[in-house]
């Protein structure tokens, strides 16, 4: 059964068609990768799914429910959670508070939500920063924080926008492990990434977007052989 | 509250609350100086005889033009021992200061504040020297009719231009009522806003469109200057511009400020008695001391201090309660203002004999022109070339 269905999603900014008729079905528990040139519309796609932007046309069906036009908080509450390409911590708060904001939605009691938040923080490996102000975290920490907040909501499906960007390879590895772990726990993951090593290692299926539309969709090994993908995205050196 | 009674040779404190800073600081400062001069004069003349020549002391309070600051200044002055208050120029500040004085049972003599309502609260301790808004409107209408009669000119229709708010409205309403009784018709009434008003042409033209004989104006300084200038520019066929309780038309700055537009503008207002030698002397000394002319408002402050001093003489005590009773029963002959008689207060605290006279801006000077007994120059009416 598919957990997320995108039916003919389009989005225009003025005259620019950032998304053109994107139609995809994502089965439950899939690890679904998206790549594409800069400006292909990947982030826009996430924003439309997660309710930050309304589509110009098309439908988003999540878990059998039409969520097109829902506000972002309602979408998140339903279990579809995204992270941001540019990190957005709540700077005036500690790491623990950042995360417990999210876990509050699950647990009414402050104590419980904090315990849960602490668990999640431990899980993403940020425990040493627990009571540090989030604004002072280094890039890698912010990436983990972004992830922790999303996880604290116990999402059914996670949309990750370039969580690995800006990390050195040694820092990527534990996060890749973590993503695998999350996936293993039953969360469907959609992710946008430019780091091909990670894309190849993680995705079960891979969507390539180009100028707002689907260029190709398939298993990663096939997709990267596609000459159109090489031409538009990967380049000859790959 | 209230101050302790003063013994021989003591000083007796009088509190003055005026806007000494902010937008109204010009007039507020001048009023404070007026009160200070009065205190000085009284002290020089030997202080309060009935209290063994006790000296007066003026304590200033700055209302900053705001009601709450005014009230807290009043409270401060009272708790520092002021036996009476003088103030405050603005009606809303006066409301607050009056309620503070009333609650502390300390007498207050209002020098300037026009709103009828202040005295309608049933306060026991509050007295006012100047005429209130509605009595000025009424007196204005009477005077206009009388003036027309004296000059042999028919005034049948007037247009009324007034500032928005209680002051302008109550003067204009009282005028309209009395005018009817005098056979004068108010053919149009136009109000203009108290703030953000920087061009009066439209309003004046609107008032003129009913073809009046006289344009009657009530308002404060800057807006009334604008009105006079607009009338001058539109150059209508009218007998004259007649201010009632106008903040500008009898102000000594007005002729220079408005230039040609000031020519022969009439103003019915309470005013210092230019014909009184005592008031002339005070004005001369004031100007010498403070380097600026003493306007009517400052004369009222001077007068208010005199009223309190008279009360002290009469009661022979600096106890506020005794002082209050003394002021209520006092009668001050030879007032410094052009009034109908001595200063005496009725049971609400209003000065029974307060009234207006007519001034006219002639050749760059403000002259008293009507009624005859106060005239310093001949009335020119019709005031405009026909």
């Amino acid at each position: 059964m598919s957990i997320l269905k995108l039916e003919g999603l389009s989005k225009s900014f003025g005259g620019l068609r950032a998304l053109r008729d994107v139609t995809v079905e994502i089965p439950e528990r899939e690890f679904f990768g998206i790549i594409g040139p800069n400006g292909a519309g990947k982030t826009t796609l996430f924003s439309v799914i997660a309710g930050q932007l309304g589509p110009t046309s098309g439908r988003v069906v999540f878990d059998g429910q039409d969520i097109t036009g829902w506000s972002a908080d309602k979408v998140a509450g339903a279990g579809l959670v995204r992270t941001f390409q540019l990190m957005r911590p709540f700077e005036s708060m500690t790491v623990l508070d950042n995360v417990s904001i999210a876990s509050h939605r699950r647990f009414r009691s402050t104590a419980k939500s904090r315990d849960h938040a602490a668990e999640v923080i431990e899980r993403v490996g940020l425990s040493q920063y627990l009571n540090k102000m989030s604004g002072t975290l280094p890039t890698a920490g912010l990436k983990r924080l972004e992830l922790a907040r999303a996880l604290a909501l116990e999402p059914k499906i996670l949309l990750l926008d370039e969580v690995l960007a800006g990390l050195v390879p040694t820092e990527r590895a534990p996060i890749i492990d973590l993503l695998r772990d999350i996936h293993r726990d039953g969360v469907t993951v959609m992710f946008v990434e430019h780091i091909m090593a990670a894309v190849m290692a993680l995705s079960e299926r891979l969507l390539v977007m180009h100028e707002g539309a689907e260029l190709t969709l398939g298993v990663p090994e096939d997709v990267v052989q596609d000459p159109r993908v090489v031409e538009a995205y990967l380049g000859e050196d790959f | 509250g209230g101050g302790a009674s003063a013994g021989a040779g003591d000083t007796i404190a009088i509190g003055a609350v005026h806007p000494l800073s902010g937008g109204l600081a010009g007039v507020g400062g001048m009023m404070n100086d007026g009160a200070a001069l009065a205190v000085e004069d009284i002290n020089e003349a030997g202080g309060i005889e009935a209290l063994d020549g006790a000296q007066l002391e003026l304590r200033d309070g700055d209302s900053q033009g705001s009601a709450q600051t005014g009230q807290s200044e009043a409270q401060r002055l009272i708790s520092e021992g002021a036996v009476a208050l003088v103030g405050t120029y603005q009606s809303d500040v006066t409301e607050n200061v009056a309620s503070a004085a009333e609650r502390a049972d300390v007498p207050m003599v209002i020098d300037v504040a026009v709103d009828d309502k202040i005295m309608e609260q049933g306060y026991e301790n509050i007295f006012r020297i100047q005429p209130n808004a509605s009595s000025m409107g009424q007196a204005g209408a009477e005077t206009l009719a009388a003036m027309g009669e004296t000059a042999g000119v028919d005034v049948e229709k007037v247009a009324y231009l007034h500032i928005e708010g209680a002051f302008g409205t109550s003067v204009s309403e009282a005028f309209t009522e009395e005018a009817e009784a005098q056979g004068i018709e108010v053919v149009s009434t136009v109000s203009y806003p108290a703030t953000n008003f920087s061009d009066a042409t439209t309003q004046v033209k609107q008032a003129l469109s009913a073809d009046p004989d006289v344009v009657v104006v009530t308002g404060y300084y800057p807006d009334n200057v604008l009105v006079a200038e607009a009338v001058q520019a539109l150059n209508p066929d009218i007998l004259g511009v007649f201010g009632i309780a106008s903040g500008a038309f009898d102000d000594s700055s007005f002729p220079a400020d408005a230039g040609a537009a000031a020519t022969n503008v009439l103003s019915a207002n309470y005013h210092y008695a230019a014909t009184s030698e005592r008031s002339q002397d005070i004005r001369e000394r004031f100007e010498e001391k403070y380097g600026r002319p003493m306007e009517t408002a400052a004369m009222l402050s001077y007068q208010a201090v005199e009223v309190i001093a008279a009360g002290l003489e009469e009661s022979g005590s600096a106890d506020p309660e005794a002082l209050r009773d003394a002021i209520a029963n006092t009668s001050i002959e030879d007032p410094l203002l052009a009034f109908d008689g001595p200063i005496e207060f009725d049971e609400t605290g209003e000065n029974k004999n307060a009234t207006v006279i007519v001034m006219q801006s002639q050749d760059g000077e403000i002259e008293q022109v009507f009624p005859e007994e106060f005239a310093t120059a001949e009335l020119i009416f019709p005031a405009r070339d026909q």
Partner: protein
């Protein structure tokens, strides 16, 4: 700062112009709307047509004065992000300087006004570089706001201490009024109106055509970015505040002859200038001009129908409407 558009890649690259097409379209639209409203009023307004004509002309001239005061404010607001509360006080200050030069030195009014310009520029520069530059930076606006609030109190009360609170006046070398289709046009106000147009054009030219203007626009868009392309940001801040003060100096010089000058004379313009600046679009010069004229018209014509402060209520009503429907202002770029 405002000419950018979100056109698509099909759009041809056009060199920036003083007024781009979109702004002209908006201006034209506004003219049509106002024109239609005026026509309706002549036909069905129930007011004598002479009076209506007079109020229109008075309104436009008053609007010129408003625009003059708002021009500097919009620049400061748009570039520095400072809500300059001292704008009105600075206006008063420049009028007093003109007064001083005209009475103490016996200078011609307009000569005195011209001399006031560099003085006010220097003042603005000094205020920004010594005080305001220290409170910028963190993206909140409360600190600059409080500083200008304090500055306003300071200016007004220092003027009070120096010049006293009694009204003073300066006579204009040109007096009188001319008659235009049955309505009266006050000459000093007409000159002020011309001054507003001239200042708007001059400012636009400075912003569009000079290096200083380029730098100002860069700083307005992103100050760190501007410093990384070689702009001395603090200097541009000071320049901008100086130019904003200069606008006020021109305004003061042109308005002093028809103002009763007291230390608080300029205050009343501060509030309306905010309205105008937002209405026109933050940082938009044509916006301030058109906004000023529009508010002048609304207030004056409105007063025919709504007595007293009723027309001001109308002004604020329109302000909120514009804010809701077009928060970037009539001439602002959408963001």
């Amino acid at each position: 700062m405002t000419q950018t558009s979100t056109e698509t890649k099909e759009a041809p690259a056009a060199p920036p112009r003083l007024l781009d097409n979109r702004q002209l379209r908006i201006a034209a639209g506004l003219v049509v709307v106002v024109g239609a409203a005026v026509a309706l009023m002549y036909l069905f307004g129930g007011q004598p047509s002479g009076l209506l004509t007079q109020s229109l002309i008075t309104g436009v001239l008053l609007g010129g004065v408003y625009a003059l005061v708002s021009l500097g404010l919009t620049l400061i607001f748009g570039v520095l992000g400072i809500v300059n509360f001292a704008q009105g006080a600075m206006l008063t200050m420049s009028m007093y300087i003109v007064f001083f030069l005209a009475t103490e030195w016996g200078l011609n009014l307009y000569l005195a006004a011209a001399l006031t310009v560099p003085v006010m520029f220097g003042f603005g520069w000094l205020v920004q570089s010594t005080v305001l530059n220290r409170v910028m930076g963190d993206s909140t606006h409360e600190r600059p706001l409080l500083v200008t609030l304090g500055l306003s109190l300071l200016i007004i009360n220092v003027l009070l201490m120096v010049f006293g609170g009694r009204p003073v006046s300066v006579a204009s070398p040109v007096e009188g009024s001319i008659n235009v289709i049955g309505a009266l046009v006050d000459v000093p106000r007409l000159i002020a109106f011309g001054g507003a147009l001239a200042v708007a054009v001059a400012l636009t030219l400075i912003l569009r055509k000079t290096t200083l203007g380029l730098a100002i626009r860069a700083v307005a868009a992103n100050d760190v970015g501007a410093s990384l392309v070689g702009v001395n940001v603090k200097r541009i801040y000071a320049m901008t505040f100086g130019v904003g003060a200069t606008c006020v100096a021109v305004a003061g010089g042109l308005m002093v002859s028809f103002t009763s000058l007291v230390p608080s004379a300029g205050e009343q313009f501060t509030t309306l200038a905010f309205v105008i600046v937002v209405l026109g679009g933050l940082g938009s010069i044509p916006g301030a001009l058109v906004g000023g004229l529009f508010i002048g018209l609304v207030q004056t014509v409105g007063s025919l129908y709504l007595p007293g402060s009723g027309s001001l209520l109308l002004v604020f009503g329109i302000f909120l409407l514009v804010l809701f429907l077009r928060p970037q202002g009539l001439f602002g770029a959408k963001s």
